[in-house]
Symmetry: C3
Subunit: 680 residues, 3 copies
């Protein structure tokens, strides 16, 4: 794994560039991302280009030995662009223009702006596409950030009507698909179709889903306009985009088809204070982030581009944008680096090199302080890089008999992360649940998926998070938890896998509960998934936050559920029953249907049972420690404040033996510490 940093030469005096580049190298950094917000300096007036400074900057960075990622600057069109296209701005759900003065001030459906993007990207690619220091292009920056995935502009509406005409051909077909007869909502022509917002009460969920699909497709289309140019003019360079965390507003699997590498921006403490509604987690993990937060996204984005992924922006200290911005615990910057390594990152890049003393993010820390001195992250990054070098140079064969990659620090190749557990992850499925939350007000299916991931991880196993289109034949445990859509190809694939490999397959509430047009399947949920296990959902209920439902069996074993429960008709006797007689947990021939939302202990119990049945080495390591295997190595991470003895805590089932020699770290892990050893 290489490390890198995000750098803004346009923010600093040119005489400082070489100093910065040399210092980056001293810290062990070898990748640098530049350019993604610099349009106003690349083209100060319409057509008036100033590319020389960028070339000088690239030369300096390259000369210092840094590999360059160049960002296309399309997330921040300059002010003069607005004079040309006053209607290029996105429009929010209340019909208000989302104005110039920050960033992402454009609508994905504005064709002239897309042409402007083609133009600037062509100019940059022609000039720099074969620069010797250039290794990759980043398209735009954080698509969808600040709720920009969806725009309700006139351009968007016109494009949506066209999208509908393409999809349904005949307006009567659309009326039928959406069930518009329901409240006399039938259209006479595509030109009458409106936006799914601003209606008297909620708009038709089919309409909402169509608009989500359309908006997601528009982003992919916008991105592809740049990719096509870059492929042509900058051969051999990777194309990537930087995705975000806890963000599912468009289909990342779809967009990733056009990229070489999926990268993402990882701010563990910001995500916790912004997104968690668990007060205990907020307290326990205030300075470490949630133990599953980084790993979940690492595994999710590893599933996007055939295993190639980076962290493009990594939190180095307090950020500026969360409700509360605490300082990371000492050691966490290093830990997060090793964690990315363990999940197979090619590159771990920090945001940002030097804290800007101006602008919106002036309280976002960097590797350097605003005055150019080292901030505390610098030292941890230097340590991380020394340790990575050390590991790469170890005579690992001698240690273990295993083949350790001799020429690489490991990482960045899907093949190096092996997992027997897959979570099937559907962006559209999550969107469908968000449109009409089946778990009631505030229920989040993304959060449930992360909790399920965490339940597996607390047994010490690697987990893949894969798209519904991914191959599933090498997994021993397959968890289907966001596949709201009644997805025939997925069902067929699961049936095939089941015939061949007999993995354990678990389906969770809501699976197959809607057609692709957002209708309840004719044969009731789980639709065609019932070919895997004969269950029919005849009722679904949502429950207030504090309502706990306990399911138990004759032996007295019990599990607690909450939020959402389905009533199942099935010839199968349920494994447990709730006190009112509703069944819970249907199983037949290694296929499980879980018809309620288990709480964390229940999820962990179920995960453990399945992992053991699947014959996977695992052990309950609790909520505070995490471990991951990559290539010949296993790593362990301690997010808790108590010291952990790896002998006792992991033991042989998780590759830690009394004579295991720890290469990085030690046999006991303190708070925020890491250990790395070679698997026997």
């Amino acid at each position: 794994m290489r490390t890198g940093v995000c750098y803004y030469p346009e923010h600093w005096p040119e005489e400082r560039w070489a100093t910065d580049a040399a210092h980056m190298r001293r810290l062990g950094l070898s990748v640098v991302r530049i350019g993604e917000f610099a349009w106003s300096r690349l083209e100060e007036r319409d057509g008036s280009l100033s590319l020389d400074w960028l070339e000088r900057a690239m030369n300096i960075l390259h000369d210092a030995g840094l590999s360059i990622v160049l960002g296309t600057p399309t997330a921040t069109p300059p002010r003069w662009m607005l004079d040309k296209y006053p209607d290029m701005l996105a429009v929010d759900a209340q019909g208000r223009r989302r104005d110039f003065g920050s960033r992402r001030h454009y609508c994905f459906s504005h064709e002239p702006y897309i042409d402007e993007c083609r133009r600037i990207v062509s100019i940059l690619a022609e000039r720099f596409g074969e620069h010797p220091g250039l290794i990759a292009w980043q398209t735009d920056n954080e698509y969808g950030c600040h709720s920009t995935s969806i725009s309700y502009s006139a351009q968007a509406l016109a494009a949506f009507r066209g999208w509908c005409a393409d999809r349904y051909t005949d307006i009567r077909q659309l009326n039928l698909a959406w069930g518009n007869v329901f409240w006399s909502m039938e259209y006479d022509s595509f030109e009458q179709i409106g936006l799914p917002v601003g209606t008297v009460t909620e708009s038709n969920p089919s309409h909402q889903l169509a608009y989500w699909r359309f908006s997601s497709a528009q982003i992919r289309r916008f991105n592809r306009a740049q990719v096509e140019i870059l492929r042509k003019l900058s051969p051999g360079r990777d194309i990537l985009h930087n995705y975000m965390g806890n963000f599912v507003e468009f289909d990342h699997h779809e967009l990733s088809r056009d990229l070489d590498i999926a990268t993402w921006d990882n701010y563990p403490l910001g995500f916790l204070t912004r997104d968690s509604d668990d007060a205990e987690d907020q307290k326990l993990f205030l300075r470490t982030g949630h133990p599953d937060s980084s790993a979940f996204h690492h595994d999710l984005y590893r599933g996007c581009c055939n295993g190639r992924w980076w962290v493009m922006e990594q939190q180095p200290g307090p950020v500026n944008w969360a409700p509360y911005n605490p300082s990371p615990a000492s050691g966490m910057v290093r830990l997060w680096g090793w964690e990315a390594f363990a999940h197979g990152a090619e590159v771990m890049s920090y945001f940002r090199w030097r804290q800007a003393p101006f602008g919106q993010e002036q309280t976002h820390t960097g590797v350097l302080l605003p005055n150019g001195d080292d901030d505390v992250a610098a030292a941890e990054i230097a340590v991380l890089n020394r340790e990575l070098d050390e590991l790469a140079s170890l005579p690992a064969n001698a240690l273990t008999g295993n083949t350790v990659h001799p020429d690489d620090r490991i990482g960045g190749h899907a093949s190096t992360v092996q997992s027997s557990v897959a979570i099937v992850f559907s962006y559209a499925g999550i969107a469908m649940q968000d449109i009409q939350p089946p778990g009631g007000s505030g229920y989040s299916s993304l959060d449930f998926c992360q909790r399920l991931y965490g339940a597996c991880r607390q047994w010490g196993v690697n987990v893949d998070i894969v798209s519904p289109q991914a191959a599933l034949d090498h997994y021993r445990l397959i968890l289907v938890c966001t596949s709201t859509e009644d997805d025939a190809p997925l069902v067929e694939k699961l049936e095939a896998v089941r015939r061949e490999q007999q993995p354990i397959i678990a389906l969770f509430p809501g699976t197959g509960s809607r057609s692709s047009e957002y209708r309840i399947p004719d044969e009731l949920p789980p639709g065609q998934f019932a070919r895997l296990i004969p269950v029919r959902i005849v009722r679904s209920e949502s429950l207030p936050l504090r309502t706990v439902l306990t399911a138990s069996d004759a032996t007295g074993r019990y599990l607690n559920c909450a939020r959402w429960r389905e009533h199942v008709n099935s010839p199968i006797e349920p494994r447990m029953r709730f006190s009112d007689g509703w069944g819970f947990h249907y199983e037949q021939e290694r296929i499980h249907y879980i018809n309620a939302i288990p709480d964390d202990p229940a999820l962990r119990s179920l995960a453990g049972e399945w992992l053991q049945q699947a014959g996977l080495p695992c052990r309950d390591i609790g909520p505070l420690v995490r471990t991951q295997r990559i290539g010949p190595y296993r790593l362990a991470f301690n997010f808790g404040t108590q010291r952990v003895d790896l002998d006792k805590h992991l033991g042989p089932r998780l590759d830690f033996h009394h004579d295991t020699q720890v290469l990085i770290g030690s046999r006991t892990l303190d708070h925020a510490q890491v250990a790395v050893w070679v698997v026997r």
Copy 2:
């Protein structure tokens, strides 16, 4: 009482209609409502009518023995209507059009749309007005749903100016009435009058009240346009509208003057999770609804059309629209049916026949599942109808000596529900309190009224809820709790009743505290109500939620109050005093003035005292059981989870004797169970 169901033939293949009709009959249903959202199928293009399918549907239903209620489809104008009248949409308080794409997308003040409604109603009435299966018309659907009572459109403003000119004649008169001198808000002409929203700080409460009265009158006017046509073209058929629960945004007493029957839509679990702010209630009654919720509205709407009322839509299972949508406890569908019977419903109709697999309400359950199989409500409805038949056929005379209606299942006739207790309920009075809540932020006078109702019901008595215009001469206890308006005719009526019958009369905080123009009465509150008891309110205070004020007397008896308290000047010595010396509870010659908001135990204590003084048979039956007398019967309902022994719990004071023979149910009531017996 008959039972019925809401049916949408346009949602299902025509070949299914007869099957459905036959199955309805099998379950004992005999009434069916259709048509209220079908405009886009009745008139696919402007003027292009398709009425034949509706006639075929009506014929099939009628042939199966079902009585038909036909809804006018005016709550869902088709999309082409918008092309004709782009300005027909309502406008919200932020000035945004409330757009097409769901329902109720029209402004009550749009004259051309009202003409379109006249046109379609005339067409339907001409074609179907004398159909032999037709027993009633429903106008539109749920007036005011989704906050549509009030529109801030240009049409509405113009109509409001006209309404003001009619009411005040001279703009100086309006300025004087509203006290516009207060902040130089005086108008020079009616054309200058604006909307009472969008102002820098709150607009004049007199202005707000006028706009509320105007908006309420516009709804009545809109409704009357249809009624006039239906009266003429469909003689002998009842005209009704379906009101809602916990909804007071227009004056239902006024609108009901034009109807034959008041019907309402009863979703007990939805109301609880959406409207209750009591965490304990949310837990206790999650699967039953609050014990007073249905009954309160039954009694409220029984007071609207001379005792004639229905439930038009009854919850059969989880709904889709509340924050949480739990499944009703087993037995509740039957219990709600008997409860409607006990309060005198003519018809109890379920919403909806078959769960729609498409559209906004696809997770709203029905009597049938989306696939056409029976959902669980079907069985409970069948039982209810068998028991109703059984009761109707009993030789009740032999049992009791009372005359039991021999030819009817009871219900639907005001005379059959006898009550000696009345709550005077003023829609305008509630609106006035909502404009400037005298109980502070979040205080709801509707909620207080329901708690007062519940306090009486916990003593086992029947309660009438009546309009301020209703006759009061047959009551022994009269509770005046929402009459904010200084209502001279009501005062005169109370004085007359007091002279003749000496009932106990209790006035609650805020009574007579504003003139009809929203001014404090010259002689201070309670205005002319002081003719009943010499009290003057010299101060009113609101208190934070958790502040409890305890009033006590010399004997140590105490009651707790909260939220709102008035300081009374009076020659009468108060019955109790608060610790700071303010008096509480003034009484003189059977007239009581309660000058603070008692908590539930205090309200129950006061209600019990008054009922006993009034000589009414009553007994404290606590918060979980309810009982109601109708005709010769008394019924009891158990909303709690503990079994209740009627001998001990009700006893002779509430008509249950050791030798009482229970006709339906048994002497002990389990959770969600009902008992019916004949009063000796």
Copy 3:
């Protein structure tokens, strides 16, 4: 101190005026404010003046012996003004016009409206400027009330562009100052500058700060337009404006330069229930207001106009506008009067004379009830005035040997309130912190400043609150807690004071953390304040509400902090350390840097230490009692419910000796009671 009242002759029949005036005098009131909302009666149509009634009113009031404050009526332009200037309305952050129908419906940047204000003020000043009863003019009313300080109208934007052109001359200068390169936000011309709202994500904080400064300047400019006329046409009369509580939306120090007297509107109970987020305070002080609330503002506004200040509106009973409006405890109206006296008020004026039975504030109590009878405040005001008379007439010299002002009731002259403690208060500094709250979501630097004030006050000392421009040379303890701006003149002044007087100076988090253009200083925070003490802030973190950080020293002494913490680099050894090693509390040569937000006990501990080191007589009197010295007097106030023995509670350190003779009140203070005595 004189007492007064706000009166609206235009609300009452002319025949009542003399009665009211006589009754005012009977209660001891001698000042009356009139006219500030009467424009629609002074000029019913454009140009059609009706000033005679006002003259008659003034004559009646004057003849009764009342001194008159005349308000300019510009806060409530009449409705016809809108017909002339439909664009005169302010526009909110969502782009909506803030409409006619209440008050303050104008934009400070609308030139024609400013001309109209000049016109009406000229007319009034010409007619009444030398009326013998007139002692002062109030300009407009409560600038900024209802969030009107900032308008986003087209006029405001145009004026802002001009303001920017004046300030920065060259657009490149502005781009540089604001750091617009950050996200390609650079402008090509001043005409491209937009509003700092409606952007996709937050706008540039430099842009926000500039708009705040501009808006603040526009208010001063608006006010000055009136002041210039009044100075000319009404010689010898004071000019004042009535400010508000807990309100910092514009720079009051700046505007005050144009006034003679700062007055403010004091509603202690309303402020508590509206603004406090401390549940315990809300309970303890429900009926008294927070013990520091009035005093803090008295001291703040005493610092605005060279010590001349009034309370222009004082709460007499429940108000109408807070979330909850409780009744003040018996005695509080009198207590608040004495408190104003103690802090040096010239006038204490009640709002309002008689409760209006109409309009928006009809539930706002007055001195009289709506029917004209005395409300309870009347009696307390009469007592207060008798006691003030009594005190003024006492042969105080005989009692004490001190010189007691023989001809005045004391108050109204800065010299009479002596303080050795100063809090430097910066409006711009607070605005800067509110733009990007360094203490995280919901953190309020104004609230912290009030807590710091309270910590001092709990040691029994007088406190001055002064502008950054104020002279500081006579203070022994100087607290710098809102000086976010890196303020060179302030630093120089502090250095000078330090050289000469060696006061104790304490700097609090955020001091000097931003340049005047909202950038982090090049040398890091605290910028030039580091000349006072060598500290550099290298990191700042914000923390969730319930996170407590404990700092301790080797002796085991500890203090708790929360919300916000800075990491300090310094050659100085910190006095304490947090458990993670960060230092806390840096001190060198009587200069302290406090680098986290102490909780209340910690603040009290620090304040006590400093006061004692400064050699000031002080004693911890706890959170419920307050005391203040003025001239020869000391006063004590009991906000708690327990009786307080002044001998024990204050004792000699706070001027209470065993033989002290209490002039007003007694040696033991009950709830809401006051004591006044002469300092030995």
